[in-house]
């Protein structure tokens, strides 16, 4: 099966929720919709599922127009961000509910339910009701419900967003394994770049109802087509600074001067916006990070085993991501080190003109 959206637009009460999006989704691939909240991820999924009808444009399944076809007649399964199960049914009946509407015998249904329950590790809970389960178990049930259907289109709308950190990590790994074995079109919506990168597949970057960029996830991450994509697909958002290329060197902000090496080499003189991800800045000098500039600390926050140092250089507010737990005083002047090989260069219009060569090995940040 292939799913194709052709110039779909939805307007609700004069507001445009989806703005002229065309997409082609192929089976056996995981498609990640990435975008901030209100980007239109859920709206787009509802269009794919057939829960909503686009105002204009067409939805094609295997080349056949299904724009107005009821969701009941399509082969779709969906997992919501909220844990949606039938509260009055047991876990077993919840999983079996869609199968009971098919022509399968009770024995076949039983086999399938138990199999998927074991995969989602909820087999000891089959007799309980959803209200007696923890959040993670409820979402496992919801995912099991979706998986057991063997639908040709599987939609997951931020399925892990309402779970705590540990559970999220655990389920993410399991889901990744599950998706690999499927011949379905899987669409997965997320706000988190790290989740998108982990799932891989193909990414579609959305913002304010528009498609900004699509392509293999890693490629989009390494070559964000615009400043907006770079911000959405970096966590924290990519640090941006205005600068220019004059006299054979790049001048960033007030006093950063960089030679035009590597990917910066072919750039013609003129004004640019330079971007660098927080992970590619450092407060300690190391090979690669040799360009030093002065900044003051606005504040620092510790998250897990990492420290995010919010700094100010000239007028620009930047974030430096540093491994380990560090403490800094407010307003403390520090030296920040920059790796010129990791700079993204955008034209004044916001379009990408030069991206760093992909780093060999190491996790992309």
């Amino acid at each position: 099966m292939s799913l194709k959206l052709e110039n779909v637009t939805t307007t609700v009460g004069g507001e445009t929720h989806i703005d002229n999006i065309s997409l082609e989704l192929s089976p056996g691939t995981l498609h990640v919709l990435i975008g901030p909240t209100l980007a239109g991820k859920t709206s787009l999924m509802r269009l794919m599922a057939g829960l909503d009808k686009p105002s204009t444009g067409r939805v094609l399944v295997d080349g056949e127009d299904v724009t107005g076809v009821s969701v009941r007649l399509r082969s779709v399964a969906m997992v919501y961000q909220q844990f949606i199960n039938y509260p009055s049914f047991t876990v077993y009946d919840n999983i079996a509910s869609s199968l009971r509407l098919t022509r399968l015998s009770n024995h076949e249904i039983d086999l399938k339910v138990r199999e998927v329950a074991i995969t989602m590790r909820i087999d000891p809970l089959l007799d309980r009701r959803p209200a007696e389960l923890s959040g993670g178990q409820q979402q496992r049930t919801a995912i099991a419900r979706a998986l057991v259907k063997d639908a040709r289109l599987l939609l997951l709308d931020e399925p892990l967003a309402n779970l705590d950190y540990k559970l999220r990590e655990e389920l993410r790994v399991e889901l990744q394994e599950l998706f690999k074995r499927r011949e379905t079109i899987v669409v997965y919506a997320t706000t988190e770049p790290s989740e998108a990168l982990m799932l891989g597949g193909a990414a579609v970057v959305l913002d304010e109802g528009r498609k900004l960029q699509s392509g293999p996830t890693l490629e989009v991450f390494q070559n964000p087509a615009s400043v907006a994509v770079a911000n959405i697909f970096s966590d924290p958002p990519m640090n941006m600074i205005d600068g220019e290329i004059v006299d054979g060197e790049a001048r960033l902000g007030e006093d950063i001067r960089l030679p035009l090496d590597g990917h910066l080499g072919q750039l013609s003189p003129g004004p640019y916006r330079f971007g660098v991800r927080a992970g590619h800045l450092s407060v300690v000098s190391s090979p690669g990070h040799e360009f030093r500039f002065g900044a003051t600390v606005d504040f620092a926050e510790v998250s897990g085993s990492e420290t995010f140092i919010h700094i100010r250089h000239g007028g620009a507010a930047w974030v430096v991501q540093e491994q380990g737990v560090h403490s800094f005083d407010l307003g403390q002047p520090i030296d920040v080190f920059l790796d010129a090989a990791r700079l993204f260069v955008f034209a004044d219009s916001g379009r990408l003109v030069a991206a760093p060569a992909p780093a060999g090995g190491g996790t992309p940040r």
Binding site: M78, Y86, F89, R145
Partner: protein, 267 residues
């Protein structure tokens, strides 16, 4: 000391509340001569003669049967009309939905007496006077809006995604509604039924005006105990006690959800 003071206060309050009911029960167990002769805190010589008369005299017990018949009809009609209406108000947006929803409740604000004349005229045209269904339908004017409001509140508490999940699963609307949705708002349906019951059970004006002999409600029978010999106190009190019983029974079943019902399901 405070909790004990509170307890005493509560006990006093309940005694005050229960006093009239107890007094009615007390009178119902005594003969008329006894009631009029002396003041007694409890019946010295209890008799069930009053109750026996109600259970054996068709003029009396048919009153209960009539009341129960039209109340049951009213509850059934109200629920079967209000369930789909409330679902529509809770799940769909349509032209003028908010105005219509409010207008339903505004209907509730008119006193039943206002509608008495039109009802009489209308029902006599269709030959419905003195039938159970006439009273049941007349009461629907008041119970349906109430039922729609209460049920809408309960239904809006069920996430819309449940409906969508059912459609994704392949459920048709009737099957989804009956097997998945209705069980989720069971308590709401119970409370709604209670409020419909309560209105219809105690409403006297319409019930009396629209009936004659065949469908005469118990409350109307009770107003006719004034005979040439004066009031039949004991009989009236016994009838009163029996009128409370069905209401008390229904309250027992929905006691946990009453508060939510009074808030029209919006807690």
């Amino acid at each position: 000391m405070r909790p004990r003071k509170g307890t005493i206060g509560l006990i006093l309050y309940f005694l005050l509340l229960l006093l009239p009911i107890y007094w009615m029960f007390n009178i119902s167990l005594r003969t008329n001569a006894d009631i009029l002769n002396e003041f007694a805190l409890y019946p010295a010589d209890p008799t069930f003669a009053n109750y026996m008369k109600i259970f054996t005299d068709p003029a009396w017990y048919s009153g209960y049967i009539n009341s129960i018949a039209y109340v049951a009809m009213n509850v059934l009609i109200s629920l079967s009309v209000a369930l789909p209406a409330a679902y529509a108000f809770s799940r769909y947006r349509f032209l003028g939905d908010k105005h219509m929803f409010f207008w339903l409740l505004a209907n509730r604000m008119a006193p039943p007496a206002v509608f008495l004349l039109p009802f009489l005229q209308l029902y006599s045209t269709f030959g419905l006077i003195d039938t159970h269904i006439a009273v049941a339908l007349a009461h629907c004017l008041f119970t349906v809006p109430l039922a729609v409001w209460i049920l809408e509140g309960f239904m809006s508490g069920v996430p819309r995604e449940i409906d969508e999940t059912a459609y994704l699963d392949g459920y048709g609307f009737p099957r989804f509604f009956l097997t998945i949705f209705v069980p989720l708002i069971r308590s709401g349906i119970g409370v709604t039924a209670f409020f419909c019951f309560m209105f219809s059970w105690v409403e006297l004006l319409l019930a009396r005006a629209l009936t004659d002999t065949v469908a005469k409600p118990i409350a109307a029978t009770m107003t006719q105990t004034v005979g040439a010999t004066g009031l039949d106190w004991g009989l009236l009190a016994a009838a009163g006690v029996l009128t409370i019983v069905p209401g008390a029974l229904v309250i027992w079943f929905v006691r946990d959800y009453m508060a939510k019902g009074f808030a029209l399901g919006r807690v």
